[in-house]
Symmetry: C2
């Protein structure tokens, strides 16, 4: 993975990609603070890789130390993100050449791309193209995704916080439902993110342990939705406990392989845009069992809830940013800093480099051993894996107005040096 | 309002009613701790007034000091609540007489009913019936409702916390949308509770100030939904800011006076059960303007989010519980401790007794002066009113597992002394 020694001059370009998280800016802080400590200037691409294509670069040197530090507790993507996947090098070579042109024009010698498996693929391709075009550039993928579906790394920065939000919300809403069940809501359905992997839904299982504790039923995209078994378990739970909390992944599929809540639209990566499996399930429960229901769909609230971030997650998000700079300056290329777990209890982890070609375009599903035999819950093995990821709180500064003090960067543009590019 | 001096003996009965909140148990703690300090035994009715009818009483004396103290930070209703409104005394006298029988059988001399305007009505009726049946009972209504729609009191315990949750969630999700807008979501719609009064939706306005800050559009049930004006403002906002955050009350009405999201079912109080105006608005935006959208519907998450409680709200919730006991022991009857604001900035408040007949069955809507002329935002007057209610944080104890340490009471049943009652 190592190439040559650190170039004498040059700048570092950092970009955010895909859905943002509660802690992606903590990664940005790790990148910028470490680069500053090494005397390296950091540019950020506005709206991810598109900013690089459009030569819309931001000079992070214009931000104060305090502003960069405040990124550690500010959700969203401070420089803008994008859902835009570069096409194949063979068919869209001009796009890649433009990227190299922009990097060259601004003497960018290190490119850090903060995203999921699509972004790892982009970083890998740019590193390959740099090599074939004779431009000295090191590309580092930096992990981020609430979906926790990246290969190689033990977990993904962003996941621990949405996991904590989901577990706490499941616990809190269940206390509410338990209070109301005698005369009102008997079944509560919480829909969470997770297109193809049920990691977030699984994390709700941390809210309680034992058959009578919520969530009583978790629906995973890894298991085909079995309507009869689901309804039977809802009924048995309501009859035994008095009420039932269900947590459903947005991506659960029926026996025909269709999303229960297919919205019919697709995002720029070609993924189906989901949302709304909860009302489908609620209507089913009402129709077949007659129970009064409530359902919730927190959507962006779950992945932007920095106020409920996991300390573990916030620390890991910062650490991968910091490590990415170390790797880049050490001359590594086409790698990603990944999280390696060395112990479950006490939880211990470290950061190591892993080759991007082992990560790009792959997707990590939950191991079968994490799901209970009936497919509606999580096992002790899953708890051992998940529990450390939501541990610890990451307190926020609040203003006198009662709101978190989130930072808004100045995002000063770097002067363009190239003509516009039509992509 | 004063009747005679405190009876020499007797117990106090406390019951929770209607939708629960993040801080209704803080009120319970105020009641129980103050009563204990006066040497008064407190029973709680299981599942609100139904527990009194069924003679399902809980002896709170069996709970430890630590458990009662933990109620101050535990959401939901610790003794169970109910959606059950007593019918008219004229047509359902047997139900009221049963209540008096149960109160008499357990030597209950003070009845504290913690709820909204329906519950204030129930407490008032029981106090009247006690008088006419010659049973010496003092009834105190204790305010609670996330809807903030009780008359007389300046604000309602429970509201400040859902207001803070809503403002913070609006801010956080908007940071997310802002990051994604270039290639993905342009319009984000957050649906909040509020059947007939837009207080919760209004609180989202605290997330930002000025035309470009989120939320850009708030939809109130106090204003008829004007589709053309709404779409024009969404379009103008996206074109100017790049994206648009909309916060919609569940209870917004069209020009025909119908709920946009009428679910067709009604709860036990005869209120329409709502939910789902966000997807209706999202589909409208997509169809008419073609913008990519996301929507969220936090439902119970918003009113059970003790992790995001307002300190002001948590303190007021405790204070009304404490005051209710003071009033009861001072011999007051048919009153409610209400919150009186004595100053906006610095915010100052006190608790005073108010007659239940000024509160029962009334509903406080937002003053017209709180809505901007176009009906899509809040005014400076609204900010002055709302801002103090979300101020301060009310930190929680967390366990090593990363979850809040919420208490589960033992809820030991009191032995029944009467035959069962069919209601």
């Amino acid at each position: 993975m190592k190439s040559k020694a650190r170039p004498a001059t040059g700048r570092l370009l950092y970009a955010q990609s895909g859905g943002v998280t509660a802690v992606i800016n903590a990664t940005a802080a790790g990148v910028i603070q470490n680069a500053r400590a090494h005397g390296i200037k950091v540019y950020a691409a506005r709206n991810g890789i598109l900013g690089a294509l459009r030569e819309e670069l931001i000079d992070t040197g214009k931000e104060t130390t305090a502003a960069i530090d405040a990124l550690r507790h500010t959700p969203g993507g401070a420089f803008g993100s994008c859902r835009y996947k570069l096409k194949s090098v063979d068919t869209h070579r001009a796009e890649y050449e433009r990227l190299i042109d922009v990097l060259r024009a601004h003497d960018i010698r290190w490119f850090l791309y903060n995203g999921g498996n699509d972004s790892a693929d982009t970083a890998l391709k740019i590193s390959q193209l740099g090599k074939s075009m004779g431009y000295d550039i090191r590309c580092i993928g930096v992990p981020k995704t609430v979906d926790n579906d990246l290969a190689v790394t033990d977990c993904c920065p962003g996941f621990g916080s949405v996991a904590k939000y989901t577990a706490v919300s499941t616990l809190e809403a269940s206390l509410d439902v338990a209070s109301m069940a005698d005369t009102s809501t008997k079944v509560f359905i919480l829909e969470v993110m997770g297109r193809h992997a049920g990691w977030i839904a699984a994390a709700s299982g941390l809210a309680g342990e034992g058959a009578d504790a919520p969530p009583h039923i978790i629906l995973f995209p890894e298991r085909v939705f079995d309507e009869a078994a689901f309804l039977a378990k809802v009924k048995a739970t309501v009859e035994r406990v008095g009420w039932c909390t269900v947590v459903a992944s947005e991506g659960i599929l029926n026996a025909e392989g269709q999303f229960l809540a297919e919205a019919g639209t697709r995002d720029a990566f070609g993924h189906a845009q989901l949302g709304g499996v909860a009302p489908v399930l609620a209507a089913l429960v009402k129709e077949k069992l007659g129970y009064k229901y409530h359902w919730a769909l927190p959507d962006y609230l779950q992945r932007s809830a920095r106020h409920m971030a996991s300390k573990t997650d916030a620390e890991q998000a910062y650490a991968v940013g910091k490590a990415a700079v170390d790797y880049a300056l050490a001359g590594m290329n086409a790698v990603m800093p990944v999280i390696v777990r060395t112990s479950d209890a006490p939880y211990r982890w470290k950061i190591e480099p892993a080759a991007l070609d082992k990560i790009a375009n792959r997707e990590k599903k939950m191991p079968t051993s994490f799901l209970t035999r009936d497919g509606f819950g999580i096992t002790a093995a899953a708890r051992r894996y998940l529990s450390p990821l939501i541990q610890g709180e990451a307190p926020l500064p609040y203003g006198r107005d009662g709101l978190p003090k989130y930072v808004q960067l100045k995002n000063v543009a770097v002067s363009k040096r190239l003509p516009a590019f039509e992509h």
